[in-house]
Each structure stands twice: as C-alpha cells, then as structure tokens.
C-alpha cells in the first residue's frame, strides 16, 4: 500500500501508554461496589480510543483484545454489571497484558501469545458470566438494547439509507425491527423523496454501546435517537412504551480525543522525546525576549560609549548575567519531570504484592510534583520499586502480627520527595517491624562478614544489608530475596551520583532516604588543589575535611597508610600519587588536608593540599572527548577557562581498598 502508517505509530504508542496509565489508576481507585460513574467512563474512553487506534494501525491482536475489555467496561458504565473485586483484578491483568502487547508491537518482538490467551480467557469468562449479582437481575432475554430511531424527513438527501444502518446492526446481534407507520401522509401529500417512517429496534446480544453509536454516526444530525438497555425496559415490561414517550437521549458518539501534539519524526523508540509543559516554553520565550532587549541596549551603548556611561554599562552587564543565568535554569528545567511519573507506578505494585502476601497496606504519596531530570527519573524507577517491595516484604508485618504488637492492622508505606539544597531527597518509609539487628548480626557472622565477638555500631550493622547477596528473608519469596538485593539498589543510586541512607527503629519502622542530584549534567562540586592541578569532588560524597596530626596516623608495611577517625581506621589515598602530579604539592600528611569521602558505603581519606571553593560545575564526558580514566568520572571547564577533572569517588575508594596500582600516563 502506498500509505505508510508507520509514521503515526510513535504517537499512537505514546497515547496508548497514557491511556493505560489512566485505566490503571482508575481501576485501582474503583475499589468495589461504590463505583464512581465518571471514573468508569474515563477508563472506558481510554479503552475505546485504544481499540480504535490499534485497528487503524493494523495491530489487530491489540484491537481484538481491547474490544473485549471495552465491552466489559461498557457494561459497567451502563450499570449492567457490578464492579466486583474479581472484575477489577481481571481488568488490571488485561491492562498489563495490553501494555505488554503494545511493547511487543513497538519493539517488533513477538507477542507472548500464551499470556494473551490467558487474559483473554479471563475476560471472556467474565463476559460470559453476565452481570452476576447485578442489582437488576439480568436474564439472557434482556441482554441488549432498545433503539428508537426517528429519521428527519431529509435523511435520504444526505445519501444515507436506514436499511444500511439496520444491516450493520444485524451484524452485531439478533435484530428485531418494528416500523412506525403513523407519520405517513395520504398518498397525494406524500413526497417520495422524504422519509416519513420511524422504527423501534431491539438488538439482542452482548453489544457495546459504542458500536451502536458508530452505526448511527453518519445520521446523528438527521434523526432523533434514543438508545437504552433492554434490562431497563424489563422493569417496565407491563407497560408498552410508545416510541414518542421514550426518553430522547441524544446519541453522543464516543469521541476520540485528537492525538496529543507530539512530534512524529523518525525517533528512537523509547526515549528521544520529552513532553514539556507549555508554561515552561512560554517562560523560555519570555527570557529570550529579555535577552534580546538587553543585547540591543548594550549594542546601543557600545556604539556611543563614553567613560561617563560606565555605570550604565555595568548595570547592563549585570542584567545580562541575570538573564543568562535565568535562561540556563529554564533550559535545564525543560528536562525536568515531576516524580509522579515514577510514583504513579507504586499503587499498582503495592496493591498486587500486598494481596499476594496477605498484608494490608496503605500507600501515601507526598511531593509528587517535585521535579527532577528525565534521565534520573528513568533510572531511579527500579531502585525505588525495589525499596517499596522490600518494605512490603520485610518491613510491614501481617495484620495479625501488627494487632498483637498494638498497631492498626493496616501498615503504612510513605513515599515522599522534596528538594533540599541542590539535591532531591526521596524517602521510602514504612511503619513496620524495622530492621532486626540480632538477625542481621547472626547472618553476617554466618556469611563471614563479621567476627562472632564483634560489636559493630548499629549504623555499621544495618549497613550490611547493602552487602551483595545479603538477604535476611527466611525463604526466598516471590517478592524479593531473589539475589537482586539492596547492593544493586545502592549501586544504581551511586551511579546517578546519589547516596542512600537508612534509619530504623525496631518495632516502629524504617526509612530509606535517597539523595540525588537534580540533574546529571550539573554537579555540586568541591574544588581541591593538588600541586598546580585543580580537581573536583562531588559534594554529595564528602563527609568532612580534617587536618591530620601524627597521633592519628598508622602505617602498615605493604598495607599502605591509614588514619583513625572516631574509632574507625580508614585508608588514605594520596591524590598526587594516583594522578602523577609532579612537584609543588604537600608530601607530609600533616602538611595538607584529608578529605574524608564515602563511596558505596565505604569510607577513605583523600590527601590534598588544600580545599578551595564549592561551586556548581557542568559535567563533560571524558570518555566521549578523550578516553576512560581510572578514578576520574568526567571533566569540567572552570570560570578561567582551564579544565578540571572530576573525581570518581567510588572508584577511588575501591582503589584504596584493593591497593591496585593505578596506571597513569603523562
């Protein structure tokens, strides 16, 4: 075919995923029984749009599946089917299945037919059940619609013909047609080009309202139409309803929202684009306007400059600086998305897992509008889900256990995001049993991580849960404890330049706090001097800076140097040795400063000449511009134009612990 529909696919996928999100949150909100009609309507509309779209673009399997879903939702919408917990579960499963099918279509991998068949069967079973336990007892006989169709006299002039519409309806179910002849004039008054007839139709079977609306779509402005479920009529069965007394509910064809304005270029699937709030764009445009004004003012000043106008020039330049900074912030802002993108996945997760574990859990979300960089959002989703799973599995107790402990039987998981300084903090807390110190200790001894007679401080003990392969789960459950543990969570967070902290109170609960930079492109750094070189350490990894005294130092032969800090012995890394800085630097450890840093839960001291200023730096990739260098994560350009290297703290800590010789080149 000459028309390439593929160009529309990307928008369709984006829309559909949004639709699925709407359906999911709507379904989760339904609960049971007290269903809000507007919520069901919204879910129905999303399913309906998806069905239409997938049919248009040739994703027939998706369209078929969505059709079942739509029929079911349509019955709920019409009040002909109760909203049972069982139905909601099946619908949630169907949403997952659709998401998977769309993902498969998008990436071109084959659809998991078995899974589709299972979900489809579940939907069909539900559909076959009819409206079980419905408020109005629905009998097979009443399954279907009554349609009262009174065409305007000019119907034929639009080229339409009722026969065609009836033929279409007959394809949907069993159709009974009764013509109403009462409006026919006498033969000599009759204009054969006009339509005088009206019809009462009964359509039996499981037919979606939307399909009926579709059959009448072309004539909706050429007729009066009333459509209602037969079940409603059954209640009034004793009284035959004359057509003109039927409620003339105008047909509202289910309108499909126009595709959202998203660019459809040749984009990489899964990522090339971002939707930006128009307010942000407006702000950018305003700032550009301001810049242009400032620039023209400065230009004018430059043409006719005399020294007595110096003050004007200075204020102009100050203005330029303000605008430039504001523009930079706004541009950064474009990449910012609210964390609700990640949080919105959690209700479903909690719903599913708490059900499996037989626990009662309430999930509370706070600070959903807190924004952070798109890349960070994408990469923090998995660690966050893991933490929530962990709270559900290890933190929250069974309802019985909670009641015995004097708590309410419903546990609470709180997700909270907020800004602090240049960072964002995301907290995952629960009011469960907290970490079990004795058990962690026993496990650690068993794994050979601790000596049996050791007395580690609590913080250090709790920190062990971030150790690879460390799980205190009694048995491997479906939920967690499958070897992918907190160590991976910590590694992922540190890869983003962040850190994770843990607070816990036995019997009261735990709080995991993740501290992340707002963006991966800008770093809060601490500049340090080593000889003539300037290095930058990420502020997030610095604990403190100290000057050493002799009494705190220890040197072990072959083990390198260590220093004592509040009872801990930490290795020292001399940066000038690691990076081969020649001359001009402090040699004696007591002459310089020691910057205590932490990476992946391990601490060490970096020996530098001096600690300079704190500043935000824009990160440039060293790999892209040069090559990978051990102990360096990137580079930046300082205000004076010189290049400074950014320290890779976790890498350096690993170095210190492993005593691996570093290869440096000059």
């Amino acid at each position: 075919m000459a028309i390439d529909l593929a160009q529309f696919h990307q928008v369709f996928f984006e829309e559909s995923l949004e639709g699925l999100a709407i359906m999911e949150s709507g379904l989760l909100g339904l609960g049971t029984g007290g269903a809000d009609p507007e919520a069901i309507n919204a879910i129905f509309r999303a399913a309906h749009s998806m069905k239409g779209g997938s049919a248009t673009f040739g994703f027939t399997a998706v369209a078929d599946f969505a059709h079942h879903l739509e029929t079911l939702l349509d019955e709920m919408r019409e009040g002909r089917r109760p909203v049972t917990a069982q139905a909601v579960e099946a619908l949630l499963g169907a949403v997952d299945c659709l998401r998977d099918m769309l993902g498969a279509s998008q990436s071109g991998r084959p659809v998991d037919r078995a899974a589709v068949a299972i979900h489809q069967a579940a939907l069909e079973r539900l559909l076959a059940d009819g409206a079980v336990g419905a408020t109005a007892p629905a009998i097979d006989r009443d399954e279907g619609w009554q349609i009262v169709f009174s065409p305007h006299r000019d119907l034929f002039r639009s080229g339409n013909d009722p026969v065609r519409i009836f033929r279409e309806l007959a394809g949907l179910g069993r159709l009974e047609v009764d013509a109403e002849l009462g409006f026919l004039p006498s033969a000599d008054e009759l204009d054969i080009e006009d339509c005088y007839l009206a019809w009462e139709l009964k359509l039996y079977g499981k037919v979606a309202r939307a399909d009926i609306d579709e059959a009448f779509a072309w004539v909706e402005d050429h007729c009066d139409l009333a459509v209602r479920p037969l079940a409603e009529l059954a209640a009034l069965a004793a009284v035959p309803v004359p057509p003109e007394a039927a409620p003339a509910a105008a047909v509202q064809p289910a309108s499909v929202p126009p595709p959202a304005t998203a660019e459809t270029g040749t984009k990489n699937v899964g990522g090339g684009s971002i939707r930006v709030d128009t307010a942000k764009i407006d702000q950018l445009i305003n700032l550009c306007g301001e810049l242009v004004i400032t620039q023209s003012m400065l230009g004018l000043l430059g043409e006719t400059f005399t020294m007595d106008r110096l003050e004007q020039l200075q204020s102009g330049l100050a203005q330029l600086e303000r605008h430039t900074r504001a523009l930079q912030e706004s541009v950064m802002n474009i990449r910012m998305l609210p964390i609700s993108f990640v949080f919105s996945r959690m209700p479903r997760l909690v719903h599913d897992i708490s059900g499996k574990l037989g626990k009662r859990v309430e999930l509370r979300l706070m600070g959903e509008q807190t924004e952070l960089d798109k890349t960070v959002i994408e990469q923090i989703a998995d660690p966050l889900m893991h933490l929530v799973r962990n709270c559900l599995d290890h933190g929250i107790e069974s309802p019985h256990e909670r009641v015995v402990a004097g708590k309410s039987d419903t546990g609470l998981i709180l997700l909270n995001a907020y800004h602090r300084g240049g960072n964002i903090v995301i907290e995952v807390s629960d009011d469960g049993r907290g970490l079990d110190a004795p058990r962690i200790f026993a496990k650690a001894v068993e794994r050979g991580l601790l000596e049996p007679h050791a007395h580690p401080p609590p913080a250090q003990l709790y920190d062990l849960i971030f150790h690879p392969g460390f799980s205190t789960a009694e048995q491997v459950t479906e939920v967690s404890g499958r070897g992918v543990g907190m160590d991976v969570v910590r590694r992922n967070i540190e890869a983003l330049g962040g850190r994770i902290e843990l607070k816990t109170q036995p019997g009261r609960g735990s709080t995991f706090s993740i501290h992340l930079p707002l963006t991966l492109a800008i770093l809060d750094g601490q500049t340090v001097a080593v000889g003539k070189e300037i290095y930058i350490a990420p502020l997030v990894s610095i604990i403190e800076s100290i000057s050493l005294t002799e009494d705190k130092l220890n040197t072990f032969t072959g083990k390198g140097e260590t220093f004592r800090l509040r009872g801990e012995y930490l290795p020292i890394i001399r940066l000038h040795e690691v990076f081969g800085v020649e001359g001009g630097h402090a040699v004696k450890l007591t002459d310089g400063l020691l910057m205590v840093v932490e990476g992946q839960g391990l601490k060490c001291g970096l020996f530098v000449d001096n600690v300079l200023s704190q500043q935000q730096v824009v990160i440039k990739s060293l790999e892209e511009n040069y090559r990978r260098v051990e102990g360096i994560s990137g580079a930046t350009i300082l205000g004076d134009g010189s290049v400074a290297l950014i320290l890779d703290i976790p890498g350096l800590v690993r170095l210190a612990r492993q005593e691996r010789p570093v290869q440096t080149r000059h």
Binding site: I3, T56, F57, G159, P258
Partner: protein, 121 residues
C-alpha cells in the same frame, strides 16, 4: 452488475492506495485529482459512490459535494468524505453540503473496504 466508485483526491499516493484497494475488491473505479475534474467525470457517467478528499485545488471537496447534490442524478448517491480526527469543523461543513458520511484518515485498506461495503452492501 459491477458497482462503480469515483475517487477524488489531489494526493496521487492516496488515490493510488484507494484505487488499488477498491479494484482489488472488484469495484470499478474512476479517478479525479480535484473537484473540477470530478464534476466532469460525474456528469459523463453515473457512479454508485463518490469518495472525496476535502482539501483540493481548483474546487475543494465541500463545493464538489454541494454541486453533486444539486444534480438530479446524484440527489441520493452516497458521498463519503475523507476527514481527519481533528477536522470536526470540516466534517460539519461536509455534512451541511450533503455528504453521506466520512472515513477518518489515516485509514487502512480493510477499513476502507468495510466502510464502502457498508454503503454499497
């Protein structure tokens, strides 16, 4: 008896797809690239169905529909217009001019045949 369809569109590729699809399904197809040409062809022979795009040079789809409806031969002939999801105003104008119904772009060959089948049954 073979049913005949007049398809009007200024986009050659779109016409190609429509013609190819309809001929494949056993309809006789007449082509025109704008409203003026379409009127000429419609006058020279009676067709059973007209499918027209709305945005065309020389004479757009709305004017074409209006003039066809004024011809005795085409008083009741089904005329389908090609619209887009967002072209609601156009759709209304087309209906007011006398169009029977519409096919929403983008459509695939199956949908085209289904809609044509609905009209010519």
């Amino acid at each position: 008896m073979m049913r005949s369809i007049l398809t009007v569109d200024d986009s050659a590729s779109m016409r190609q797809m429509v013609v190819f699809t309809l001929k494949g399904a056993g309809y006789e197809v007449v082509e025109a690239s704008d409203g003026v040409e379409a009127l000429g062809k419609a006058k020279s022979r009676k067709v059973d169905l007209v499918i027209t795009d709305l945005n065309m040079p020389n004479k757009d789809g709305i004017a074409l529909i209006r003039e066809l409806r004024a011809m005795p031969d085409y008083k009741f002939t089904p005329i389908l217009m090609l619209t887009t999801e967002s072209g609601d105003a156009k759709k209304q104008a087309g209906k007011a001019a006398g169009a029977t119904g519409w096919i929403v772009k983008p459509f695939n060959p199956d949908q085209l045949l289904k809609t044509v089948g609905k009209v010519l049954g």
